[in-house]
Amino acid sequence: MTATRRPVPRFGHGSRVPGWDDAVDLTKAPATVPDPATTPVPPGLRETIEAAMAKYPDRRSAAIPALHAAQTVYGWCSPQAIDEVASVMQLTPAYLTAVATFYDMFSTVPKPRNDVYVCTNISCSLLGADEFFEAMLAAAEGDPDVNVRSFECLGACDIAPMASVNGEYVGPLELDDAERIVSDLRAGRAVLEHKQLRYRRCVDPEVAAEETDFGPPDRETTEMTDTAGLGPEGDTEDRPGPTAAIEMTDEQLAAHPEPEAHTDEDTHPAGEGADEARDGGPGEAEDGE
């Protein structure tokens, strides 16, 4: 939530500038459910959303899976992405925007493709996560493809301080690892392979002792046994779920151009140009056609 929230404009002495909380243009009718006939949706995306809707007694339950899918296609929950999901699910864009802004993993402003979530909660920060976060920000500075943000507890305090790089948990991290993460991402390699959580074994001493029942562990393979049962390379293409890429043909790509580069809307006064019933900001309205 924090990442997508624009700062409230304030005077130098601290009070908020009047009009910061003005509603969007009240004379304008709120956006209704987009007409499927006039809202083209990439077939891959449509099928993913329809398959998700079929899994639940109430199609609305598919809102989060559908937004995951749309974010995978467009890189962020752009007004266009939300309109397309709304058209397939037959919901209003306002409803979906409300959902998208609630959850930390959805972004309603453009963001770089690679997500690096650095956990800065208690256990990690006791062991130096705040310093690592600074180092990570410095390492990724100026890289348009790396989105570094601090995150609340990611559920891997055993490898603290840790980070989630495109969903892959790595830790315990040292300050030098920040550069490694960025260079691994740029090279398209598996990130910090020796520090990936999937190779970590259970620390409970008795579990380790009982394991000898299965024959002497082979030093070569034991160290890197993949308890996750997945290949060591980042084989995201073949996997189901939000990391799976949705393939588009060239014509589809031409019909759905990548959203334009993010203009810095933070400096615009709030309220101006805010479109329809969404709580998206001024910059998004221009991308939404």
Binding site: P7, R10, F11, G12, H13, G14, V17, Y56, P57, D58, R60, S61, A62, I64, P65, L67, H68, A98, V99, F102, Y103, M105, F106, N121, I122, S123, L126, L127, F151, E152, C153, G155, A156, C157, D158, I159, A160, S164, G167, E168, Y169, R198, R201, C202, V203, D204, V207, A208, E210, F214, T225, T227, A228, G229, L230, R239, P240, G241, P242, T243
Partner: protein, 441 residues
């Protein structure tokens, strides 16, 4: 005694052939083919197992609250493990997903439920992939679907990924999120057992609780109850983290002395450091000090000590850290995660953060500690869910137990601030990023 973690690192345990070779799904056969739902339920009752997610409510009783008869009932497995310090469910799902699936099927049989969902947090992307593959394997082998193993029981199981919100671990917030809404908690009662998902009766249990179910059926409820202590039966996974030498998940029998967990298993703080205080059940639990290390680790002893066992996440803080820095982390976390529905929580968490920041910047007086304690008091019990309480309780306990240290901190920060140039002092409540480029009227 290892039950859940028995040979957990065996390669391939996440696949069906290895799990079956080790006796997997035998408990399911036993339950479905040899027992009635009532018998399964009475075994769960006898086992005395209490929920492993945080509240510690008896699982058998929860199932018994479900109404009987022909209606749509749901089972929801809460895998939105987001309590800071907790990472036990992650290890279970990653390494032995079929154990969870088997537990879900048996529990649904006991509650006569035919639709089940697993709500997993969106950050557990790899774990969700593993679980999804395991569900597909189980369905292909006939453990899910219509008339499982030729019995009258049918079950569909859907994995649902969240998208990053702590509040979705709260059971009613989770239900709203699963229905495709913002994850706002609901008013209780009605409790989910009466009116939950899609307004139907819903059984909600944690991953660890459900993963234990096959073992209870295998051992028999009474035999399982012999483990642990009288009111806290069985084994529990504890996630030990923070300032310890060997952080990780350990399976212990409930009632094990806390010192044995923190020092014996996890190795205690680094050489030359000692335990200053520790959270016994995630960051929501009131803290205990080094004087409490000899308390047995079980539900009732922790409750008597004024705290809670919670999710079984022990966070150890050693004497190299100040109480203030930990309190600020805790308060900021809850302020960020508050959904904003109830005023005491939304405002209370934010003002607590501001008061702690005042201490840091040297603008606080000891009276602020009293105000902070009163804010905490006014949050507790006044909201729809316990997120606000979850901040108020640990902060309140830190203020109570480390008051003199915080007072010293206030004094020291004031002296630092007095030495500083006043022009550098930012007014209260105005963080740098908010000071806009706008002129003063």
């Amino acid at each position: 005694m290892k039950i859940l973690f028995d040979r957990i690192d065996e390669p391939g345990l996440n696949t069906l052939p290895v799990y079956e070779r080790r006796g997997g799904y035998q408990s399911l056969r036993k339950a479905l083919l040899e027992m009635t739902p009532e018998e399964v339920l009475s075994n769960l009752m006898d086992s005395g197992i209490r929920g492993r997610g945080g509240a510690g409510f008896q699982m058998g009783r929860k199932i018994s609250f479900l109404p009987h008869g022909d209606m749509d009932k749901y089972l929801v497995c809460n895998a939105d493990e987001s309590e800071p310090g907790t990472f036990k469910d992650r290890e279970l799902i990653q390494k032995s997903p079929h154990m969870l699936i088997e537990g879900i099927i048996i529990a649904s049989y006991a509650g006569e439920i035919s639709r089940a969902f697993i709500y997993i947090r969106g950050e557990y992307d790899r774990q969700a992939d593993i679980l999804e593959a395991a569900i597909a394997e189980a369905a292909a082998a006939g453990y899910l679907g219509e008339r499982i193993l030729g019995s009258d029981h049918s079950l569909s199981l859907v994995l649902h990924r969240g998208a990053g919100a702590y509040i979705c671990g709260e059971e009613t917030g989770l239900l709203d999120s699963l229905e495709g809404k913002r994850g706002n908690p609901r008013l209780k009662p009605p409790f989910p057992a009466i009116e939950g998902l899609y307004h139907g009766p819903t059984l909600i249990n944690n991953v660890e609780t459900l993963s234990t179910v096959p073992h209870i059926i295998r051992m028999g409820g009474k035999k399982y109850a012999e483990l642990g202590v009288e009111t806290s039966t069985g084994t529990k996974l504890v996630s030990v983290s923070g300032d310890v030498q060997r952080p990780g998940n350990y399976e212990i029998e409930l009632g094990t002395p806390s010192r044995e967990i923190i020092y014996g298993l996890a190795g205690g703080p680094q050489e030359g450091r000692e335990v200053k205080f520790w959270f016994p059940g995630g960051s929501s639990s009131p803290v205990l000090t080094k004087d409490d290390l000899d308390l047995p680790y079980d539900f009732d002893t922790m409750a008597k000590a004024g705290t809670m066992l919670g999710s079984g996440a022990i966070i150890v803080v050693d004497d190299s850290h100040t109480v203030l820095e930990v309190a600020l982390k805790v308060a900021k976390f809850y302020a960020h995660e508050s959904c904003g529905k109830c005023v005491p929580c939304r405002e209370g968490t934010n003002w607590t953060v501001k008061m702690l920041e005042r201490i840091q910047s040297g603008e606080a007086t000891p009276m602020d500690l009293d105000i902070m304690a009163s804010v905490c008091e006014q949050i507790i019990g006044n909201c729809l869910c316990v997120l606000g309480d979850a901040m108020a309780m640990p902060i309140g306990s830190m203020v109570a137990k480390f008051r003199s240290e915080l007072e010293d901190e206030i004094e020291a920060a004031r002296e630092r601030a007095e030495g500083a140039d006043l022009d550098d002092v930012v007014p209260i409540g105005v963080a740098d990023e908010h000071a806009g480029p706008f002129p003063v009227h």
